[in-house]
Symmetry: C2
Subunit: 227 residues, 2 copies
């Protein structure tokens, strides 16, 4: 009977993890498409990003429900419980990454009718690469419960913040130099800020994982990771 | 024995709710002080806001731990479980409201050395009143588990978004009119955006509460609130 319950728990946990990875895949796709829509002035692709928001929101609610039901029915031990709660929190962050992709798509539509900038959005592209990279690595670490990988990710967030500040600085200079640049510069700033927020959410995923593993370890006294 | 467990559960729940209200009080205070620091160019007050961030973060971790321990030890029924999980999610939002207060404080420091704007930050003050009002009402509704009050709050968030867009529009006009306005206008935009985010987090609190109550009600089939 104990084994039966444990098998049921594993099945439900497997379903939660599958849905989570499906949601992660969707979210990574909308970020990628939103960035491409912006740098290629592709209004149609931007529109598609906005249309996929509902599917992401639905997955968040589904995962949330599965998690609550699993906790209520299976009454998992502290370590399993903390893992499920981490997934619930991670879902909330993923949903907000989807929202940031929506903001980038909105800026893509606003920018599509303006002239291509001289730098071909070079800094923005670099920032987008960094943000997509940290998101992908954080999701990998989260899926594999790899706290060491999560710990190694923090410096990437600092690099994103630095580049974001440079973009902010350079676009502000542009606005000061010529008021005609104000609208385009602001739109690029908003889109860059959304990418900076994607980096923050990726870092949150890592923190949930480290906290989860560290919390377990303190309780079970096997190994303590640095805070 | 069943009664003993139920009493223990009530005691732990009471402690979680107390800590949550303490955290809510701290967060409301830093938002208020950050706004005052900005409109009065008070660098010292802005500094105090930043220094209280650690206390808010500590409370978030404490509440989170209490919640996980209570779920693991007391194995609450679905409705109690959903309430505890709502509190955990609400804490995350409260902590981020604290972060937004920190951003306003940062802008307060940046603006303190510039000349007082002609409008005496009139729109910003109005936005701040709206944001503080929705935060306070959402926390009240959350504490009293008043889903009807939570449902009535949504229109306030729309008013905040509209005023934020007007501030964004007016400050953009200012930048177009004279490049000398760029820095001050941008700082006001960032601070206004932080207030707009406070409104979003307040709305999240309401959504957790409605979802929690609606979830309970669907399960217990007593009353169903509109989604």
């Amino acid at each position: 009977m104990g084994q039966h319950i444990s098998e049921q728990f594993d099945i439900e946990l497997g379903r939660i993890r599958n849905d989570f990875m499906e949601m992660a895949g969707l979210v990574e796709a909308v970020v990628r498409d939103a960035v491409n829509a912006l740098v290629h002035h592709d209004v149609e692709l931007a529109q598609q990003v906005s249309e996929r928001d509902a599917a992401i929101n639905r997955l968040e609610v589904t995962i949330d429900d599965l998690c609550v039901h699993t906790i209520a029915k299976r009454q998992p031990a502290a370590s399993d419980l903390r893992m499920i709660i981490s997934i619930m929190k991670a879902c909330t962050d993923l949903e907000r990454v989807g929202d940031e992709a929506g903001k980038i798509a909105k800026m893509a539509r606003a920018l599509a009718s303006s002239a291509y900038p001289r730098d071909q959005y070079a800094d923005f592209r670099t920032l987008a690469d960094l943000a997509q990279n940290i998101l992908s690595r954080s999701l990998d670490a989260f899926a594999r419960r790899d706290a060491d990988a999560a710990l190694a990710i923090a410096p990437s967030d600092r690099a994103i913040n630095e580049l974001y500040r440079r973009i902010l600085h350079d676009r502000t200079e542009e606005m000061r130099a010529d008021p005609a640049n104000v609208d385009r510069a602001l739109n690029v700033i908003w889109a860059a800020r959304a990418l900076e927020r994607v980096g923050d959410h990726a870092k949150n995923l890592c923190e949930y994982l480290i906290y989860q593993v560290r919390g377990d370890d303190i309780r079970h006294a096997t190994k303590v990771l640095p805070a």
